[in-house]
Symmetry: C2
């Protein structure tokens, strides 16, 4: 033993930084120099970081000049077989066979009026560009057609009746079909299913899965080193969390109209909401209070401007916006 270190493990800190601008949920991405895939801000955990979260904040600030507000840990990824899981680490480690690399992913929320932070190659990009099958605000997205076709092909080419049946069940569960409603929180499950079906280009470096010719035209822009999986995790977490914690307001400006709030919720959940019921919900929960001003630019009757009532967090155990999508697809 050299006495320096025993473990061959490097730990990366990766940030899924979310903001919603103009009905479009966005992630902060770093575009590669040489035509590679965009990736999330990240950096290795070092001895100087006293907490994981502190390390993450520092890396993000360094790479994007953005100072984060709300941050929560998402998940720790560590499959050594996963696409690119080791490649980036290998470089940093100086070419030695860095056997192992794990990534601790964080979710961060940025207010809509927060700094644009387009510095240092970082840019906001709509997350549905990466996962177009997750946006059902306008009814079933066009990409679902392709997705279903590809998945059905995958299911049909399974080895044996049982395998085929099991695959079809999983598809039905993840994406919803006749009878079975789609669960908007199962973002990761859907991504993983597509991954297993060989429809995610990021998987093509994976031993176990063969590049599928048909996946070439799969909708959804790939990202670097398994980062799309982290994005899917973040979306799922966020969609669940807004229902029982007032995190939605971490994405809103100081004052906002109820419709703006609703549009933000819709952007995240990817589903249309019933306007009147949404208002009733927000009011009943006493999540907001009027600022006294009104927004004139509505196009119709002016809307009262509201602000978040921070006190609710001290009043009730789990305030949140537990809305559910309208049965009939589309905005209301």
């Amino acid at each position: 033993m050299t006495g320096v270190v025993s473990s061959n493990v490097t730990v990366d800190l990766t940030a899924v930084i979310v903001s919603v601008r103009d009905r479009m949920p966005c992630v902060l991405e770093i575009d590669p120099e040489a035509g590679g895939r965009p990736h999330l801000p990240w950096g290795p955990l070092g001895p100087e970081h006293h907490t994981l979260e502190a390390g993450l904040r520092e890396w993000v600030e360094r790479q994007t000049r953005l100072s984060l507000g709300y941050v929560e840990q998402l998940y720790t990824f560590g499959d050594s077989s996963r696409a690119g899981a080791t490649s980036a680490a290998a470089e940093r480690v100086g070419g030695a066979r860095a056997a192992r690399n794990i990534s601790v992913a964080y979710l961060a929320l940025v207010h809509a009026d927060g700094a644009l932070a387009s510095v240092s190659d970082a840019a906001w990009r709509g997350w549905y560009e990466h996962l177009p099958w997750e946006d059902w605000r306008g009814g079933e997205p066009k990409s679902m057609r392709t997705v279903r076709d590809r998945l059905e092909y995958w299911a049909a080419t399974g080895d044996g009746d049982e395998v085929r049946a099991r695959r079809r069940t999983r598809i039905r569960l993840a994406f919803g079909e006749n009878g079975m409603p789609r669960d908007e929180e199962r973002v990761l499950e859907r991504y993983e299913l597509l991954y297993e079906a060989g429809l995610i280009p990021e998987a093509w470096y994976d031993d176990a899965l063969h590049p599928s010719a048909q996946a070439a035209s799969m909708p959804g822009r790939p990202m670097g080193t398994d980062h799309r999986r982290m994005l899917a995790t973040a979306i799922g977490r966020l969609r669940g969390k807004i229902k029982y914690r007032p995190v939605l307001f971490e994405l809103m400006p100081q004052s906002f109209t109820l419709l703006a709030l609703q549009r933000t919720a819709e952007a995240l959940t990817g589903a249309g909401l019933h306007k009147q019921n949404f208002r009733r919900l927000v009011y009943n929960q006493q999540l907001v209070e009027p600022t006294g001003d009104v927004e004139q630019e509505t196009g119709g009757r002016p809307a009262k401007l509201m602000r978040f009532r921070r006190e609710v967090e001290l009043e009730r155990p789990s305030p949140g916006v537990r809305m559910s999508a309208t049965r009939r697809a589309g905005l209301v």
Copy 2:
């Protein structure tokens, strides 16, 4: 650079293994040889582990001869200031100044009829021995008296009116009081509050917190290296999860009575449930089906034996036992 490794980070895999036996929720613990504190099964992630979960399973199996079924990732802990966060790692690393150590904690569930696995110094211990303020099945536990007194003292000795007010608000939020109902899921929040208040012996190695003489008699048995925090995290997660996923059945034997199921749910949530409503819930959700047999040892009318209907997971998006505690404390 030596060419061997660049990071000074070691990654541990730690398991909170839960089982419920006879109304008592238990964790699998490893008792120390030399009168130290009990700790959870754990081991370092090595290059031979292809996934974190696989590494965890291997360590648990090696240390306790127990083969795990249901496993999910809980949280990754990495505060370098946290009690014992580095000490254990330092030993393994051979005395070198291992600057950094993080722990990926997992939650595992074991069926009540699973192997006792009392081999290799491992033993099941009731989790409320470590966190007695979490068991409200028989109404407010006696330990709450001490806890409230200590917390109130901590709040009262805060520096400045504002600090004192904020501390009292946090206490009220975490533990619930007049008006504010206690949220049984906020286990970690309660633990962290006690930790900050200097009432958790594990914290006494922490720079920022001074050992408080009054904490000497705090109820609740300490554990090694921050493992009690992981236990708190596990309990909170589990209490939340049984409400929307049928994980409760991962703790039950093949066949069981509805009362046994209810007792298990109560053991986890630490609250009494309304028997008739619990049955209605379980029936309406179609979570179980009768085996045809009956249990005679009930002490009264024999109870139908039931089994879990695995199919529900394929039928509805989020089946679970979303019960809520009876208002009036105590069993019904």
